[in-house]
């Protein structure tokens, strides 16, 4: 009875919220849990309950898995909007459950917040868990990578099938004592592989014996091919290895199969191989998996391109407080052809909380922007002087730096008159929305 009531309330609250033009994906879960806190314990779950977590890449990985499930005629629900905390997931589950408590589809697919899932998974079990990486991300909320690793460890159960990125020693470390099924994925060396010069690599010491890990190569951050100098801890051979990686032409091989990747970002190799590995773990037919990735188009949502008075403007959303998110935007820009203008800056470190830590600026390899293809770097936002300081310390020629005091008034003129080449904004979501508004006023959209 309470179950039925919770489900009905969830659906009504979500519908009302949508009618009020709100998101309608979280509020239902909130009310359902108020009525029946253990509602999730009493659902009859489907054969596949899939979680995807990690510091970054979980959204894209979940999207691609969704695409593969869809093309393989498996019915499923997933948190498309990215509501990945307790209320959002509750709402997702109850919206797809009959009043008698039976989940109605063949699979439940969830992008899971690496921190909130600890609370969520007290109520039900996953059959499969994909772990993408554990890196520096939002420290005021997440403390540090080893803390997140300890949280994920606390929810692992031996009857879960782990699909894990073994290039990350923190992720691989989670699986060492795991007695259940494991599928390992990883990436071979690419022409992006380069160590940071900032001495800020996490997990440099062996989790088993405390000796320093030796890396054959780094992809980014602490992801790469590592081994302990002292004991047997090393990056194992992946079951699914991405190799012969051609980022420009967007092709890779996974073992013997040629696979298309959806964008020219290194991270798209990771989410493709993660989704591919999960699809194999679900024992989907290989030709169908390949068909769904290679033949049916899949468009990643992160790339936004505009035409700014004859120049291409790409918006590369970069997540604040996540140095590797910025690094991947920088790597992408450096591998693009032609003269470039970059826009950098932010008003707040976070959208989630009011704390404004700025230490993460010093963990980003801005030194790599000392490149002759970069014409100008335009600095905007409330922390513009902090960003300028950082760029100055990166020894970027000061003639290349343009500081904009009144962003709303001056940005268009500055870009038009003082910069050349294609434009790459690598700002966080809030600033990106403002840039879109400014472009809209100029009559520029990407429709």
């Amino acid at each position: 009875m309470r179950m039925a009531l919770a489900i009905i309330i969830c659906k009504i609250a979500n519908t009302l919220s949508k009618l009020l033009k709100k998101e309608g994906t979280v509020i239902g879960g909130y009310w359902a849990l108020k009525i029946y806190p253990n509602v999730l314990n009493n659902i009859k779950y489907p054969k596949y309950v899939i979680g995807v977590t990690g510091s970054s890449g979980k959204g894209s990985t979940t999207e691609l898995i969704s695409h593969i499930l869809n093309k393989n005629d498996i019915t499923y629900a997933y948190n498309k909007n990215g509501s990945n905390a307790v209320n959002g997931i509750t709402s997702l589950i109850l919206s797809n459950t009959s009043l008698n408590g039976k989940y109605k589809k063949q699979a439940l697919l969830m992008e899971l917040d690496e921190k909130h899932m600890v609370h969520l998974l007290k109520h039900f079990m996953l059959t499969h868990l994909v772990i993408t990486n554990i890196t520096r991300d939002q420290p005021p909320r997440n403390a540090h990578p080893e803390y997140i690793q300890s949280l994920i460890k606390s929810i692992l159960k031996d009857n879960m099938h782990l699909i894990i990125n073994v290039d990350d020693p923190l992720v691989y470390g989670l699986s060492i004592d795991h007695k259940g099924k494991k599928t390992y994925y990883g990436m071979d060396k690419t022409n992006y592989s380069k160590a940071s010069n900032l001495h800020n690599i996490d997990a440099q010491y062996c989790p088993k014996c405390g000796s320093k890990l030796i890396y054959e190569f780094y992809h980014y951050g602490h992801l790469g091919k590592y081994k302990c100098a002292n004991c047997d801890f090393k990056r194992p051979n992946p079951d699914f290895l991405a190799h012969t990686i051609d980022i420009k032409n967007r092709t890779i091989y996974i073992n013997k199969d040629k696979i298309k990747i959806p964008s020219s970002f290194l991270y798209s190799v990771y989410f493709t191989i993660a989704a591919y590995s999960l699809a194999n773990a679900l024992t989907l037919q290989k030709d169908k998996i390949l068909y769904s990735i290679n033949i049916e188009p899949f468009i990643s949502k992160r790339l936004n391109t505009y035409n700014f008075y004859g120049r291409t403007w790409q918006m590369l959303s970069s997540k604040n407080e996540n140095n590797l998110s910025y690094k991947q935007s920088i790597d992408y820009i450096l591998h693009e052809k032609g003269i470039k203008t970059i826009i950098l800056g932010f008003d707040n470190s976070s959208r989630r909380y009011k704390e404004n830590d700025i230490s993460w600026l010093w963990d980003i390899d801005f030194e790599n922007l000392k490149d002759k293809s970069i014409d100008k770097i335009v600095v905007i936002g409330r922390f513009k002087y902090d960003v300028m300081t950082r760029l100055e310390y990166a020894k970027i020629n000061t003639e290349k730096l343009i500081l904009i005091e009144n962003f709303e008034i001056d940005i268009v003129n500055v870009l038009k008159n003082k910069t050349k080449g294609n434009i790459y904004s690598m700002v966080c979501f809030d600033k990106e929305n403002e840039l879109k508004e400014i472009l809209k006023k100029e009559g520029i959209t990407n429709d």
Partner: protein, 246 residues
Amino acid sequence: MIKIAHLYYDIMNLYGENGNIRALKEHFERQNIKCEIHFLTINDKIDFEKYDIFYMGMGTENGQILVLNDLMKYKKQVKKSIEDGKYYFMTGNAYELFGRYIIDFKGRKIECLNIFPYYTKRINKKDFMDDCDFRIVGTTSGKCNFLDKEIIGFQNRGGTIHESDKYFIKINHGVGYEPKSLYEGYLYKNFLGTYLLGPLFIRNPYLTDYFIKKIIKEKNSSYKFKIFKNTFEIKAYETFLENFIN
């Protein structure tokens, strides 16, 4: 020539702490003083006579203990060099290591260098699963007694300090040794310990110049110190005060 040892640079560098070393180098070089940085870590031989400045930043709880095990080998040398007036800048949980001991999550006592009388208690794990309640997180600012400029910074730590007999700043914003304390950090001779993490010397250019000047003057009392106004660091510092502190 100034020699700086960045101690345990590859472990105690969790929140952009590399910025501190770079700030020191940059500020010395602005005064035309050459500056050499040596990056040292576990199993390296550390000569505590050789350097003018020792710097260490923040690490994870596990990383900190790895470092402690190595640093304990040098207990006597560290103590002597602090007494001799060498400069120690220890930010984040690095400064916990110079106290008597750390009480860990399970209540175990981990012996530290025992140079200063304070000890550290890791905030208990019972609140571990709630949104970072087990850590003290947030913007912090306060006044020290040797500089007429507010010190600004950020904290993100899993420990509290007890029985400290000295301090670095009196808190105006945020918390000190523990949530009820109005004092933060430790200052003894040229040892500066503080929970303020990350690029403290980037964010506090006046503090940086205070120390740079002091160090240079000790070596050459007739040195004419150059003042740099309106640097981006200063503007960033003042903007932060305006937006978040005042």
